[in-house]
Amino acid sequence: MGITREEVRHVAFLARLELTPEEEELYSEQLARIIDYMEKLKELDTTGIGPTTHPIPTPNPYREDKVQPSIPQEEALRNAPDKERGFFKVPRIIGEG
């Protein structure tokens, strides 16, 4: 099956990665080989087999609805690359979508 160059570009967009043409080339090739290998799973008949998404299933615990202290605004923003007046600051959404 493999993966086309177009698909690589689409997947990179979904993952918000701007690949250089060289990267695109390299990943197309490598991913094609890896995905080829994954095709191996199709040998197995899994009809009626339930999926495992948690290796050790336990009942999901609940938290009681109690307010815990938040962290100070200054601490919340400390690691931010850009901030202003208590907000995280980002470039405007143009061409986003």
């Binding site: 689409h10 918000r16 701007e18 995905i35 290998y37 799973l41 050790i56 690691n79 931010a80 980002v90």
Partner: protein
Amino acid sequence: MKPYSLTIHEAHRLLKDGELSPEELTRSVLERIDEVEERIKAFVTIDREGALKAAREAGERLKRDEGVTPLTGIPISIKDIFCTKGMETTCSSRILRGFVPPYDATVVKRLKEAGAVIVGKNNMDEFAMGSSTENSAFQITRNPWDLERVPGGSSGGSAAAVAIGESLASIGTDTGGSIRQPAALCGVVGLKPTYGRVSRYGMIAFASSLDQAGPITRDVEDAAILLGIIAGHDPLDSTSIDEPVPDYLEGIGRGVKGLKIGIPKEYFIEGMDKEVEEAVREAAKTLEKEGAVVEEVSLPHTEYAVATYYLVATAEASSNLARYDGVKYGYRVEDPENLLDMYCRTRDKGFGAEVKRRIMLGTYALSAGYYEAYYGKACQVRTLIKRDFEEAFGKVDIILTPTSPTPAFKVGEKIDDPLKMYLSDVFTIPCNLAGLPGLALPCGFTRGGLPIGMQFIGRALDEATILRAAYHYQSVTGWHLLKPSL
């Protein structure tokens, strides 16, 4: 013997008896770091001041004999995947450079509460993605047994540091073998506990349904001690198991008489290193001689484990790594034109090649039209792999396998062939898929002097039995006592 080469339990005895102070021990470790770190490159952060301060506090604690644990005053290191309050945490990634968490991971909190001295944060493959520590954004860690070779990965910095004496023990994480494989390649002990045994809170996620923290130590006893401290239910991690933590040292010396050990026939594969195979088969004989019942078992879906793993792990990773977007913390590209440009260039520049490759693979596996064929299918095969183990554990108590098909390989040897690198995880991956505990320990050396590791796999939550088997094997062989010399 220099203090830095002590085990935790040896050092603990000396500290309790007042024959050694935590400060002396910590200084010895820091001096060792000064001596070898330039060649090994096992750390991304070294906290000399913090370590000495913690050592002095531990000294007080010992003097007052209040709340002393086997870890009080013991200098350890932790993989840079664990968030440490007020200390930079990078996951060896450019995208997290400079990130200072306002919280401690639960594991870190428990270590600190036990009085451990944290000397620094270990290098790793970026976001734990790799089997050689070559994928660190900052440096390549070297194998102390041969500086031309990799220490394994992703917890390569941890394993190398423990092997060479830059810390007495380390906490690593294991998603597909990242504790056990580097432990094997560096000739130390590595334990991946049952999924959910140790809290994942504050441990930076790679693949949430597979990740598990565990100790990397110089012997089995130390692994039992460390596990006892970090294990246990955590209300901050919904997937952590709410079961009491046993005393892992209790009964560790009961031997292997009558213990049923299964050897899966699928684990001795074409292309496997002959010396590794011989060493593991020899170990089986040794255990048999000690009274264990060794028999062949079958784990028929083993050959599908790598494909299954790399679909599940990358799918989860593609989502887990979406938060690194240049908004709240970490790296942001200079002068972005707009939001989309900021996202795409920040992530392209911030992540390394392997991380991007896996994000791409995982995104693909979840994308419209491919979900069922890849991610969905992998989750079903995961069920089959789990069932293989359930069936095998109906017959035997533990399973014995090699840890890695080969000993440490050369730096650069596999880096250009990701698939080849992935395939080398074949023996460690099934454990993570099934959530079972696995312990790697030394079982010999190649003629070239490289350590060989073997692996015990146990039933869910039955770390005690694999620790017991490993402890007995270690005490009748002594491979773990051999140390690298630089």
